[in-house]
């Protein structure tokens, strides 16, 4: 068989044609993933880490996905932004705040062909999954460390809203602290925002003025930690990302959120058609979050914190074992029992010994 030059050329261009065609097809079929963030990507905390997760998803899945992100969306604007994401072709949308959960349920019902994932939520639906990490495990470790570091025996807590997620975090910090020293007390300031550096710093200042010398924070900016650094002789914990650099002398450890692998697996599931609504709640053992290197602690304190962290990750230590008694004295569960996940997620009471008013 004679192959002429013309035929070769045709063949080559045909090959080139298929290659280009395949590339176009890949670009066209690339899954567009939407992200709606409650704060700016530059909050150095919660929203920053979702952005990091999104970028990891893009780098792992390459040209099979593209992503679109909208920052600092106020809840009243949520419906419009979510609808616009659907209209521009997103087929999987992550809404990353509990403040978006009710509107996400509403928009998900109106857009059944789009898969929705709400970071923290209370129910799933046919096209709505919820995901979260068991941050309370980190809170328990914080409580243990705080009890070792506090000289005034008083921990301060910069809190956001009195939702169960925050309430069980405060309860767990105290569980951890009491495991070291039952005389530890806690003070809480509610700032009614997830991200507001000015108010976060004011709250930390008020707590320190009231005698707290270890500050825990549920808010997303490094402001409380920076204030602790400024005051000196006060310690604090970073929230959501490794905040060591913001307070080299005050930082003890940070809880580091890591959503990348989850985003990769969920996007992949949509791509290969295996996406199902799920309720994911991963702990220290799951890789959804980890603790930053312990700093400003003695070797004994570090080894104790490490031991407790590993026990929590392995599941041999559980922060919600009974007995659990409410602040008003009623018994929730006796010794030998453990709260179920649903009970933890619905926790709206403080434990006995926590003298904090709900706002």
């Amino acid at each position: 068989m004679n192959i002429t030059r013309r035929q070769t050329l045709t063949g080559a261009s045909a090959l080139a044609g298929t290659a280009i065609g395949a590339e176009q097809a890949a670009a066209q079929s690339a899954l567009n993933v939407g992200f709606i963030l409650i704060g700016p990507v530059g909050d150095f905390g919660w929203s920053t880490m979702h952005d990091v997760g999104r970028r990891r998803m893009e780098s792992v899945l390459g040209n099979r996905v593209t992503s679109t992100q909208v920052e600092a969306v106020a809840p009243p604007d949520f419906d419009r932004v979510a609808t616009q994401l659907v209209r521009t072709g997103c087929r999987l949308i992550f809404t990353t705040s509990f403040s978006y959960f009710a509107p996400t349920q509403r928009v998900a019902a109106a857009n059944p062909n789009v898969m929705w994932e709400s970071a923290t939520g209370t129910a799933t639906a046919a096209n709505l999954a919820i995901y979260n990490a068991r941050f309370y495990e980190g809170r328990y470790v914080q409580g243990v460390i705080a009890a070792r570091k506090s000289r005034s025996k008083t921990i301060g807590y910069v809190a956001t809203f009195p939702v169960p997620e925050v309430i069980h975090a405060i309860n767990t910090v105290m569980r951890g602290a009491w495991s070291v020293d039952p005389s530890i007390r806690i003070r809480v300031v509610w700032i009614s925002a997830w991200f507001n550096p000015g108010r976060e710093a004011d709250a930390a200042r008020a707590l320190i003025d009231q005698g707290c010398d270890v500050i825990c924070q549920h808010t997303d900016s490094p402001a409380p930690l920076q204030l602790a650094e400024q005051r000196g002789n006060v310690f604090g914990f970073g929230q959501a990302s490794d905040m060591t650099r913001f307070a080299p002398r005050a930082h003890l450890t940070s809880s580091i959120n890591s959503w990348g692998d989850y985003y990769v697996s969920r996007a992949r599931a949509v791509l290969d058609g295996s996406w199902r609504p799920a309720d994911t709640w991963g702990g220290l053992g799951s890789g959804m979050f980890s603790l930053a290197a312990f700093t400003n602690m003695t070797p004994e304190e570090v080894s104790e914190a490490t031991r407790i962290r590993d026990a929590l990750a392995a599941g041999t230590l559980h922060p919600f074992d009974g007995p659990i008694t409410r602040a008003d004295g009623t018994l929730v569960i006796p010794a030998g029992q453990r709260l179920t996940d649903d009970q933890i997620r619905a926790q709206n009471y403080f434990y006995q010994g926590i003298d904090v008013a709900m706002p």
């Binding site: 992100q69 920052e71 169960p164 709206n348 706002p359």
Partner: protein
């Protein structure tokens, strides 16, 4: 030497022609430079920013929904400012309207009411806004207190009142302690006007108000009185107009409109009360009022313009993947150029040599 800004006695014709061109041209030029620096195709970016929001029914409806509260509030503010009364507290009057209307929706939640509910909520909203605005009005007419300060400070009072209510007595029992009320029953929510969008009856109400205020200001004795008191208070006194009565009237009018806007926003877009119910509509409306040259139809145009830049900024985040801050910078540039050109049209700068003592 110092620089003074003085009002032009007459605006030269060439400037009247050139100024609007500059006002449009400079921001577009600034936008092109910014988009190019950010590595985006300027033509596509301009399209996404300004044309896409108004290119289909859904987008137009969203612009209308966003513009409705802005225009309503600005209409009332324009009346105030025309009369030389400086109501800066529309944000608080807006919140009071939302609270009063929302109160009715919350206490009737779970029971069936008749079609009277929505009109009653609107009346209550407007009434509450007017009462809230009358506080600085009375403080000024009775005690001579500066209404700029008092009206502004009442904004914070209103914010904390809303905060208290949604955290305390009106909190949704099933809402996981989040500071918000129940989602309103369908009959306490503004009916939608068409499928596939969120346009509700708030927008036609706003348009009726624009027409009503255009007539009020342009064709009635009251409108003349308002303008006269603002521009020539001495002449107004000679004409027998009561300045005090007028201050209270314009405060009540603008408070009622802001209150109505707040109620419409609560019952139309948000469908519940929560602390973040207004992204600063009461303050943005001040810009709208001045951009619209304190003229009712002008307020309508300016409100739509601001709504487009807001939604365009969101679009730019979604379609161009611009960061939020870049879209805000652009919005700020636009306003800066438009207002600067406007000032150049009405004023001129002159260097004045100061006499030495």
């Amino acid at each position: 030497m110092r620089l003074v800004m003085e009002k032009r006695s007459e605006t030269p014709l060439w400037l009247m022609v050139v100024s609007p061109l500059i006002a449009v041209g400079l921001p577009v030029l600034a936008a092109i430079i910014m988009f190019t620096l950010l590595g985006k195709d300027p033509a596509r970016a301009l399209y996404v920013y300004f044309i896409d929001p108004i290119s289909d029914s859904w987008g137009l409806q969203e612009v209308a929904v966003k513009a409705t509260p802005l225009v309503l509030i600005a209409l009332g503010l324009a009346v105030c400012y025309r009369a030389n009364v400086w109501n800066i507290g529309a944000e608080g009057q807006f919140l009071l309207g939302a609270m009063a209307g929302g109160w009715l929706a919350v206490i009737t939640h779970g029971s069936t009411q008749g079609p009277w509910l929505l009109p009653a909520m609107m009346m209550l909203g407007a009434l509450a806004g007017a009462c809230w605005a009358l506080i600085p009005g009375v403080l000024r007419t009775r005690f001579g207190a500066n209404e700029i300060l008092t009206s502004l400070m009442l904004v914070y009072v209103a914010e904390y009142l809303l905060d208290y209510l949604v955290r305390g007595p009106w909190r949704d029992p099933g809402g996981f302690n989040m500071p918000q009320t129940v989602i309103f029953e369908p009959e306490a929510v503004l009916p939608l006007l068409m499928e596939g969008g969120r346009l509700n009856i708030g927008t036609p109400i706003m348009l009726v108000m624009v027409v009503a205020f255009a007539i009020l200001m342009g064709r009635t004795l009251k409108g003349f009185e308002i303008r006269l008191v603002g521009e020539a208070p001495r002449a107004a006194r000679f004409a027998g107009f009561s300045e005090k009565g007028l201050v209270l009237t314009v405060f009540a009018i603008s408070g009622a409109l802001a209150g109505l806007a707040g109620m419409l926003e609560a019952a139309g877009t948000v469908k519940q009360l929560q602390p973040g119910i207004s992204p600063g509509y009461g303050f943005t409306a001040i810009i709208v009022a001045f951009l619209g040259r304190l003229n009712p139809v002008g307020c309508l145009v300016a409100g739509i313009f601001i709504a487009i830049t807001f939604i365009g900024g969101e679009n730019a985040q979604i379609m161009l993947r611009l960061p939020l801050d870049a879209t805000r910078v652009l919005q700020g540039l636009l306003l800066f150029f438009v207002l600067a050109c406007d000032s150049l049209l009405l004023y001129r700068f002159r260097f004045v040599r100061e006499a030495r003592a």
